[in-house]
């Protein structure tokens, strides 16, 4: 019960074993109009009636569940049932999609034009697509892609339209009117960002989503991460939608639900600089018509390839086997609202994490991500002034390529020329001059007076954070062995080479989770450690790997320390998020200028927010519910204790195994929170 399923690393074939087809190739040979007007005759879920938008909305409004809730709300608020019903109807109008084949064709036509311009190729794994086609006929299908760019919002619909598979309805955040209307007709339905405790809204949404799932007339697409990831690494999954989507299965209203994780990977992300600016606190432009036109400037650029990898369809039934107590649903009429039990919530949570994990495994690591890892481990002065020697970078990249393959990741490595072509593709970040690689530092020609040092840091930070986001695309491959390596190296230096992670009960209960085992087995596979029945021995031959991994995670540790320091040194115990972010940024800028801090990542609001939420979970920081603004109260003693443990550890003070485990836990806890891994919960409970 609630036990985390043992993760078994799969032996995945590399790129070569996988059949990816460039779907743009055929598009380039035929006319866009002919494509848009092609016959579209998909095979839906068996026995599913086609459901028009108005029928769907009618079914939702007339559902027993919604009627029940409406009556309840009318009773509670004292307003009339008709009034509440009107409200519900209004909410539904704001929410509902208006999928029309005509607009799908229009979308197909437009996207054809756009994609052909932006991308050299869009690779899709045909096997996954075939499995999807099969799955759609057998049970309701939920498509769960990752979200890394606005571009991918309709990519799934585009591909499914191309291959005669029913196009999905898509859960989206509220957008503005005109684009919103277009997307609505392409199958998007809208969910408010902050629903809070609006009971009626929740009820309408629940019934709407579940009616779609139950009838299965179209696949449902949503982002389990909730948002577009600004940092290009996966986010902690949101459970609300997952809960709603799975409930019809838990209640037995459908035999099974098929979950299809989809991994979309980019060589180059369209909004790379926008993302970096956003993370540095520059507000993002509103999604408007003007924004769209401005975006047309980006249409001139080359964005390389996109990979869309349709994962193996997962049966909710199989995954939930033995995890759900069905009888909880047997004693209450199914049209009444019912809070899921802790057991069910655990199961949904586990499933959501599994989906994210599968998305990660399905994504293709680009050579550029590997280079980004390496460039970020190169001293900044080298990158900005003398430049990094090309052959140094390529040799190391090839070394890293092997490591990544050993770790079982999918790599997008078409040919030997790929390294130079990828550097050319990313001319916005690096330039290649006289066999050396430099970070791009554009001088603004319009500007008269020289940049202030602070502005210089910010400029630099934009480029570095872009690099960071590309590194993040590969981070999931390294994070588990990385954590182990960070710890392992420290201990190695303490104990002359031979250390062991003894199998003490604490260790087993906390770390026997699959993540630890996976980390060990990966490190063993690449020859960095030796694992026997009882112990893990760090090998000297593995030092290169271990030090790479350690350096990879170092910026995280440095960032945490800085923020702990800020929190402990500030005078007040209460602070707001609005205050915290710029203050940390200023402190960091100062330290970077003085040379005391050598990572720019602490400037990212993402890192900052992660630390806040980690500290909140450790209860070193508590949220005060006093005003609209998010206010926090800090427990300095707790923060400095956490910091001390990290610091002592890093400063090579001899430690006991118990202490070491404690450190391990904290590091894992923090790193994992920001990197989104399953074991947080079990570690935290310990």
């Amino acid at each position: 019960h609630g036990k985390i399923k043992r993760y078994q690393p799969k032996h995945q074939e590399q790129n070569c074993g996988e059949e990816f087809t460039d779907i743009l190739e055929e598009r380039r040979r035929t006319t866009d109009l002919g494509y848009a007007l092609r016959t579209f005759n998909p095979q839906p879920y068996k026995g599913a009636p086609t459901l028009s938008t108005s029928d769907l909305n009618k079914a939702v409004l007339e559902s027993q569940y919604l009627c029940y809730i409406i009556k309840e709300i009318a009773m509670e608020t004292g307003s009339s049932v008709e009034k509440v019903k009107e409200d519900a109807s209004r909410i539904l109008k704001e929410m509902s999609h208006n999928l029309q084949l005509g607009f799908i064709r229009l979308m197909g036509y437009t996207l054809n034009k756009v994609f052909k311009r932006l991308y050299r190729s869009i690779y899709v794994n045909m096997e996954g697509l075939n499995m999807l086609q099969q799955a759609i006929q057998e049970s309701p299908v939920i498509l769960i892609p990752n979200h890394r760019s606005y571009v991918d919002f309709l990519i799934i619909s585009y591909i499914l339209f191309t291959y005669d598979i029913p196009v999905p309805v898509i859960a989206a955040g509220i957008h503005v009117a005109i684009i919103g209307g277009l997307l609505r007709r392409s199958g998007a339905f809208y969910i408010r960002r902050a629903i809070g405790s609006d009971k009626l809204y929740w009820a309408v949404l629940l019934e709407y989503v579940q009616t779609i799932v139950r009838t299965g007339y179209a696949p449902l697409e949503f982002y389990v991460e909730g948002f577009r990831s600004r940092t290009l690494k996966s986010l902690v999954p949101k459970l609300g939608m997952m809960d709603m989507v799975l409930e019809p299965y838990f209640k037995g209203e459908v035999f099974d639900i098929t979950l299809v994780p989809i991994s979309i990977s980019y060589d180059r992300v369209l909004e790379e600089s926008l993302l970096a600016l956003e993370l540095l606190g520059v507000p993002r432009p509103k999604e408007s018509i003007t924004g769209l036109f401005k975006a047309s400037g980006v249409l001139q650029e080359d964005y390389g390839c996109m990979h869309v990898n349709f994962g193996r369809p997962l049966s909710a039934r199989q995954l939930c086997e033995g995890k759900i107590n069905w009888s909880e649903y047997n004693l209450i009429p199914r049209n009444l609202p019912q809070r899921p039990t802790a057991e069910t919530q655990d199961c949904v949570n586990w499933l959501a994490h599994l989906i994210v994990r599968t998305q990660e495994e399905g994504s293709l690591i680009s050579p550029w991500s590997l280079m980004a890892c390496l460039l970020l481990q190169t001293p900044f002065t080298t990158l900005t002034e003398e430049g990094l020697q090309w052959h140094q970078l390529t040799e190391k990249t090839l070394w890293l390529r092997k490591l990544v393959l050993d770790f079982g990741a999918r790599l997008n490595w078409p040919d030997s020329e790929v390294m130079s072509s990828t550097v050319a593709l990313h001319h916005s970040i690096v330039h290649h001059k006289e066999d050396r690689i430099y970070l791009v530092q554009d001088e603004d020609p319009a500007r008269q007076d020289p940049l202030s040092p602070e502005e210089g840091v910010m400029r630099m930070a934009v480029v570095v954070l872009m690099l960071v986001s590309y590194r993040n695309q590969a981070l999931h491959v390294f994070v588990r062995p990385g954590i182990l390596a960070t710890v392992g190296l420290q201990i190695l230096s303490l104990m002359n080479g031979h250390i062991l992670f003894s199998c003490d009960p604490f260790f087993c209960s906390q770390m026997s989770s699959s993540d630890f085992e996976e980390a060990c087995s990966l490190l063993q596979k690449c020859g960095a450690v030796h694992i026997s029945q009882q112990e893990v021995i760090v090998l000297e031959t593995g030092l290169e790997v271990l030090s790479f991994l350690q350096k990879l995670l170092q910026p995280f540790l440095d960032s945490y320390q800085l923020m702990f320091r800020y929190l402990c040194e500030k005078e007040d115990h209460v602070f707001t998020e609005e205050q915290f972010l710029p203050d940390v940024r200023n402190l960091a800028t100062k330290l970077i200028l003085s040379g005391d801090l050598c990572t720019f990542e602490v400037l990212s609001s993402d890192t900052q927010k992660n630390v806040l939420s980690a500290l909140r979970r450790l209860e070193a920081v508590t949220k005060l519910r006093v005003s609209q603004q998010k206010e926090y109260k800090v427990n300095k003693a707790a923060v400095s204790r956490t910091g001390d443990i990290l610091c002592k550890f890093i400063c090579d003070i001899p430690v006991t195994i118990k202490f070491f485990l404690c450190v391990l836990r904290i590091i894992i806890y923090f790193t994992l929170l920001s990197l989104n891994i399953l074991i947080i919960k079990c570690l935290y409970c310990g």
Binding site: K251, F255, D256, S327
Partner: protein, 568 residues
């Protein structure tokens, strides 16, 4: 009677020399007829083939039967009572099983497990009292045996039982002791089988109206012990509604009420300890049950619906209006096709022409999809005028759900098939096909879901377990109640290529039962628990409920004389 299959020895399905299916004997309407569609249906549904036969062992090999463990002291005293008994191998084997698939399959292969060591035939209540006293005195295990139609492993001898097992066969206690026309009750010995009871009562112008599908062979005592349900319960009620008074012999003595008042408020009804006790507490010897004058008029009927969903909605509405006919059953599409395959050869061109016309009307004119439509069979009973009125009411409701009246013939054939369908399993087993039915009861709002999910689960499990051919997985709604319905599932598959087909079968049935429970269905509507479904009892009735039942057992039968180990 067959020793290793269902029913009368003279009645069975077989393929004649021309390869046509035929039902032998003279007992049923279908007897002696050719069934032209059956072969094709079997071949296309199961991938069965007449070339691939799996014949049963023709006669019982007595040497395969373990010699009886006899309790000499018991035997000696038994002899002195003059009650007939036997330890002949055939008698013992015959009473060692019910009709679960695994039981019949083993018999067909000539495999015999633990069987009773002795069979006794008491002739009356007092004989039973003597037998139970002797059994208690000599610590002998007693297993009551009625009609032997159990499908819950209830008659299987517990292999761990080391005492001498005595099968107490009630078949000689088969008299109607009196009929009370003032109160409309009859006092009957519990060993009487259903068809005899009805026939004898009919002679006096009465009936009980209790007609379980097994009524040809099942006994009154068995009905009481398992909480049986009859096809016509809408008019006459289930066994618990029919019973007025019960006499049961237990190791603690005889239990019975002191009067025959139609309802009492005297604490929990002790009859409810007896009904459903499945032979774990004692032997039911005599029962007073309600009788009714025979109905003046009976009329069959049938309705075709465009799909199963509409059919269920119609049944639900009929239940809501409380106007269910004596029987109303809804078959799904697969069963509709199956029923079609069992049509006997038509005797005239005219009938076949009419059939064709009907089919044309329903599928082409009304646009019903032959792969989705389903049919409800109806039976009305009562005085003529009321029946016709009632019939109209039901057809009017059906029309609202797209139902089309499909004639009396289809209805009548549906009910006739109820009795011959059990013979069909034996034919299947001759050709690598094994199967069985199981039932549940479920609230109305879950009927469709449970039907869909359980059928799908069966298909998926078969695939997972390596069954080479797609299984037959079908269901029907056989009873309606105010708050729910009884649903029957039929499941069969071709086991060619499987090394242990019975095990596969059992795994699938187990999974199907899990699915039923997960979808809010009950553990059993009327088959009972026996030993087959024991594992789910605790979750079904809660630990406290188990404790209640256990404490009754501990008081009534502290030495576990009635040691069939059913239920708990």
């Amino acid at each position: 009677m067959k020793w290793n299959g269902w029913g009368y020895s003279d009645s069975k399905f077989l393929y004649n020399k021309k390869g046509q299916a035929e039902f032998t004997g003279k007992r049923y309407r279908l007897s002696g007829m050719i069934i032209p569609g059956l072969r094709e249906w079997m071949e296309s549904t199961f991938g069965a083939n007449l070339q691939h036969k799996t014949p049963a062992a023709p006669i019982l090999n007595s040497s395969a039967v373990q010699p009886p463990t006899l309790n000499e002291a018991f035997l000696k005293e038994l002899k002195s009572t003059g009650i007939p008994f036997s330890h002949d191998a055939e008698d013992r084997v015959f009473r060692s099983h019910g009709h679960c698939l695994h039981e019949i399959f083993a018999l067909r292969e000539g495999k015999i497990g633990r069987v009773p060591d002795l069979v006794v035939w008491p002739n009356c209540h007092n004989d039973v009292v003597k037998i139970v006293e002797l059994a208690c005195k000599h610590n002998v295990c007693l297993m009551p045996y009625g009609g032997g139609t159990s499908v819950s492993s209830a008659l299987e001898c517990p292999p761990e039982e080391t005492r001498s097992i005595v099968s107490l066969d009630t078949s000689q206690m088969n008299r109607i002791l009196w009929i009370d026309e003032k109160n409309l009750t009859a006092h009957v010995e519990a060993g009487i089988v259903g068809q005899d009871l009805e026939r004898l009562l009919n002679e006096s112008g009465y009936c009980t109206g209790h007609e379980p599908d097994s009524m040809e062979f099942s006994s009154l005592g068995g009905w009481v012990a398992t909480r049986a349900s009859g096809m016509k319960k809408n008019i006459y009620g289930n066994i618990e509604d029919l019973v007025v008074h019960i006499k049961m012999v237990t190791p603690q003595g005889v239990i019975e009420k002191s009067c025959q008042g139609p309802r009492m408020s005297t604490g929990p009804d002790v009859h409810h300890f007896i009904m459903g006790s499945e032979g774990t507490l004692g032997v039911v010897t005599e029962v007073t049950m309600k009788i009714r004058p025979m109905p003046e008029y009976q009329k069959y009927g049938s309705v075709v619906f465009p799909n199963f969903e509409m059919g269920v909605a119609c049944l639900r509405e009929v239940a809501r209006q409380r106007c269910a006919p004596a029987s109303i059953r809804l078959m799904d599409n697969e069963q509709f096709k199956f029923g079609h395959a069992l049509k006997p050869q038509v005797s005239s061109i005219f009938t076949s022409f009419l059939d064709g016309l009907k089919k044309f009307y329903i599928t082409k004119f009304k646009g019903f999809d032959p792969n989705r439509l389903c049919v409800a069979t109806l039976l009305f009973e009562g005085d003529r005028e009321k029946v016709l009125q009632h019939e109209k009411q039901v057809y009017d409701i059906a029309a609202k759900f797209g139902g089309l009246a499909a004639g009396e013939d289809n209805g009548q054939r549906g009910y006739m098939l109820t009795f011959v369908i059990a013979y069909l399993r034996d034919l299947g087993m001759d050709y690598y096909v094994i199967g069985e039915s199981f039932e549940t009861s479920v609230p109305w709002d879950r009927v469709l879901d449970i039907c869909r999910n359980v059928k799908a689960r069966i298909v998926r499990e078969c695939k997972d377990k390596g069954v080479q051919f797609p299984p037959l997985s079908t269901c029907r709604v056989t009873q309606t109640y105010d708050a729910g319905a009884c649903v029957y599932f039929y499941f069969a598959f071709n086991y060619r290529g499987l090394s242990d087909p019975v095990h596969v079968y059992e795994q699938v049935e187990h999974a199907a039962r899990e699915e039923i429970l997960a979808n809010g269905g009950s553990l059993s509507h009327h088959h009972g628990v026996g030993k087959l479904r024991k594992e789910w009892m605790r979750e079904t009735i809660s630990s406290v409920g188990m404790g209640m039942l256990k404490s009754v057992k501990d008081y009534v039968d502290p030495n576990n004389i009635f040691g069939n180990r059913n239920l708990l």
